[in-house]
């Protein structure tokens, strides 16, 4: 009996000693990555927003030098609906909710590693073995083999010449065969001054669509994080006679039972006000809310940014084409102008930092939002956010001046703090290529925020469409 007990103890000891090292092999957690980003300032840029209008994608003029793309569609062939490209067939892309081929005029319109063959983007190949099953290598690009139209994607035609799927582009100068409709894929226009919000449980966006010197305000449904669908197709706020053919830069405040929109005339002569009970039909008030009357406004006011704060609507606006930001206060119930500040509330020098943001010369497009009892003011400002470059020979290259997104905050609308380390969003594609970010709009969601902006090159002249940066987990 004593021997049995002793053996049991040793079995216990040996088992224990074997179990200890085994614990270390039970599994290993991956080291956690950084996941906590500040909702107000920790923005990380991602793919841009696809804005769709009647099934076509709105593209910036700088991205459509050859005009809008359209292709011929075989009669009776319909495209499949989709929410994401993963739902489409190989070689297709989900554009504005529909799967289709990817037409092109040259390789610059295709992804990296692709060529433009037969007016469609295709993988580079040297022989058939480089292509997927069902494809053949034709003129350096993989093309789908076909015997009938059924074998091809939406927007492709089965070529009787070589039995591959090709694309036939069409437009004003080139028409399709008889019976074949010419389906537009793109619409060339400038998307400016976006404003996103939730109203009545629905995510909405308002955006200025500019075509040359003409512009108007459109409403869009936020279908997903990166897709807006213009609805209705007509502008919700259009210019009236004497407004120079342009009214835009919408800023919308939700009031009980209605939306109130502030917008600016394209010539900077006034900021106007309109309201809507259904979110799509806005009635304009006859008298402008703000007109340039002070010297510091330089005869130009525009790009309003409105937010409810401390019992009134606070209307920030750009003055003198970016020399300053002004502030007006409005009683929303009566539409009465309560107060208009006689001097600027924000000037470019307030964003200046000797290390992080130098030579700030312009502050534009204020976007105001109330958070935790403070008013946050996102603005675009033009300056240099990095140090000058030094070359091996000892010379100095000055940093490129470009537009970036900055942040200020105040609890009393008198004293303002600025984000201490320069812009909250500033993109560059490599060490020296800076990009521009203009006209910010921020939507706070649970634990994070969306920052929608207008992308541009460093000059700020050539816009590239709506960009989207997100913060939070």
């Amino acid at each position: 009996m004593a021997v049995t007990l002793a053996c049991a103890r040793w079995v216990l000891v040996v088992s224990w000693l074997a179990w200890i090292p085994a614990c270390g092999a039970l599994g290993h957690d991956e080291p956690p990555g950084p996941v906590f980003r500040d909702a107000r300032t920790g923005f990380v840029d991602g793919p841009g927003i696809e804005v769709c209008m009647d099934g076509t994608r709105v593209v910036a003029p700088s991205r459509a030098a050859g005009g809008a793309l359209s292709f011929c569609v075989s009669p009776g062939v319909a495209s499949r609906t989709c929410d994401d490209t993963t739902e489409c067939a190989p070689g297709e892309r989900c554009v504005c909710g529909r799967c289709g081929t990817r037409p092109c005029r040259n390789a610059t319109e295709c992804d990296a590693g692709e060529v433009c063959v037969g007016n469609r983007c295709a993988s580079v190949c040297g022989s058939d073995t480089d292509c997927r099953a069902g494809e053949t290598c034709s003129a350096g690009g993989c093309a789908r083999r076909c015997s009938t139209q059924v074998d091809c994607a939406y927007g492709e035609k089965c070529s009787a010449l070589d039995g591959t799927c090709i694309v036939k582009l069409c437009g004003e100068a080139v028409s399709c065969n008889v019976g074949e409709p010419c389906a537009p894929l793109e619409r060339v226009a400038d998307l400016r001054e976006p404003h996103g919000m939730t109203w009545g449980g629905q995510a909405l966006a308002f955006v200025e669509i500019r075509d040359g010197s003409a512009c108007a305000v459109y409403r869009a449904r936020v279908v997903s994080l990166r897709r807006w669908e213009v609805d209705p197709l007509q502008p919700v706020l259009a210019p009236e006679n004497g407004e120079g053919g342009c009214v835009g830069a919408p800023s919308v405040v939700a009031e009980p039972g209605r939306l109130v929109m502030y917008a600016s005339r394209g010539d900077g002569s006034a900021i106007v006000r309109a309201s809507s009970v259904d979110g799509s039909t806005f009635l304009r008030e006859p008298t402008p809310v703000v007109t340039p009357t002070e010297d510091w406004q330089g005869g130009w006011v525009g790009a309003p940014g409105a937010a409810r704060f401390q019992g009134a609507t606070r209307l920030f606006y750009q003055a003198d084409r970016g020399r300053a930001i002004g502030l007006a206060s409005i009683d929303e119930a009566t539409g009465t102008l309560l107060d208009i500040r006689p001097t600027p509330v924000i000037s470019p020098s307030m964003l200046e930092d000797p290390l992080f943001w130098r030579g700030v010369q312009r502050v534009t497009s204020p976007f105001a939002v109330e958070r935790d009892g403070a008013l946050l003011l996102y603005v675009a400002a033009r300056g240099a956010e990095h140090s000058d470059a030094q070359v091996a020979a000892g010379g100095v290259y000055p940093a490129d001046v470009n537009d970036s997104i900055g942040l200020l905050a105040s609890r009393d609308l008198v004293a303002w703090d600025r984000f201490p380390t320069g812009p909250v969003l500033a993109r560059r594609t490599n060490l020296r290529t800076y990009l521009g970010e203009l006209e910010p709009a921020v939507m706070f969601l649970d634990g994070g925020a969306w920052l929608v902006y207008v992308g541009a090159d460093a000059s700020g002249v050539a816009t590239t469409g709506l960009g989207l940066a997100t913060s939070g987990p």
Partner: protein, 421 residues
Amino acid sequence: MLAGFAAMLAGTRTSRATAPLLFGYGPQSTALAQSDIESPDPAASAYTNPASACEPGTRLLAGHAYAWTDLTIDDRAMPLRGIAGTDLAFQLGRRIGRRWQLGGAVAAHLPDESLAQISFRPGSEPSFVRFEPSPQRAVADAVLAARYAALSAGAGVSVLADARGDVGFLLGQDGNGTYADGATNVELPYRLAPLVGVGVDLGPVGIAGRFRGAQAVGLDLATRADVSVTGNPLNGTTLVTVAGQSGYVPATWDIGARWNPSRELRLTGALQLARWSRAPSNTAEVTMAVRLGLSPGQIEARFVRPSLRDTVSPRCGVTWTARLADRPVDLRVGYAYSPSPVPEQTGLTSWADAPAHIIGVGTGVELGQAWGIALRADLAAQLWMLRERTFDKPSEVLPFAHYRAGGRLFDLSAAMEAAWR
């Protein structure tokens, strides 16, 4: 309480191991919430109190522990790496004459996944400075002790390795075309911290003190990249150095007391002063020198000191020795209050922490002797409950201007001990 433990096990991500700083070394210290400074398990004396390393006998302890973390910031789980490790300790003491005792002990804590986890975070990113990544580094203590009559004293060192070295990368060109070459030279020099313990044993009562020096993993790595390819406009040299200290454990001063009101009952108490105010930055100092033909040459340094504050932590414990099937069974319970060393946040840093109530329970069972070796098994659990704390910075534009930190940690520790008397 058991229901609370069960709910926590179900609702949190698992991690594996104990860290002596947080939970104590071995199940006895864990159960008593580290109040056993005066009367540690002799096998664990190298860590708990070097003065007890002269206890007559020979002891070997092998243990392991799992810890579950459920720390949150703004109700979102903080993805901390698991805390897991093995405790191995040995102690040898001999009586010399009637009044003298001499002895020595070693104790090691070996994390399951790595000897040390070096981690630097951006200064503005929220981080639980007490809980990451210090629980994940190895502890190796060695002490010698002597006792004369009622007085005992011990001293030793805690050993840790730094990481220092350089990494070279070359992209060049020769007659066979472009080639890449690399070399790494990393040293692990030792870093020592002092350990000192004293004790006075007056029979039913005793008092003791302990000092443990501060420790941190030092990192000093330089990476040099040379690019020299014909036709490449970006030929040149880039030198990046990263230096800093990670996994800081503060110097601690402990005083402890024991009172045995009866043979079955033992009361222990302790006060611990932790010198968090000496903590180095949790952010690495980064120097980057770029010398490329067309690119910027920039030298940048970012160094944010945490400005932590010292803490005083009271601890108490009760041990009741019962007899079960004619074998002594220790039942232990402990409590400690751990103040937060993190001050109000007023700038770019967003350190997270909160005061915590710590409750420990445990048991120890004598298993009898096998071939002359006395066997003993100990088991303990410890729960940390962080009181939710709100941080409000003075400016709305500072990163993380408002956030809340809180959560819980739960540790399970088990060990077997063999003693040759």
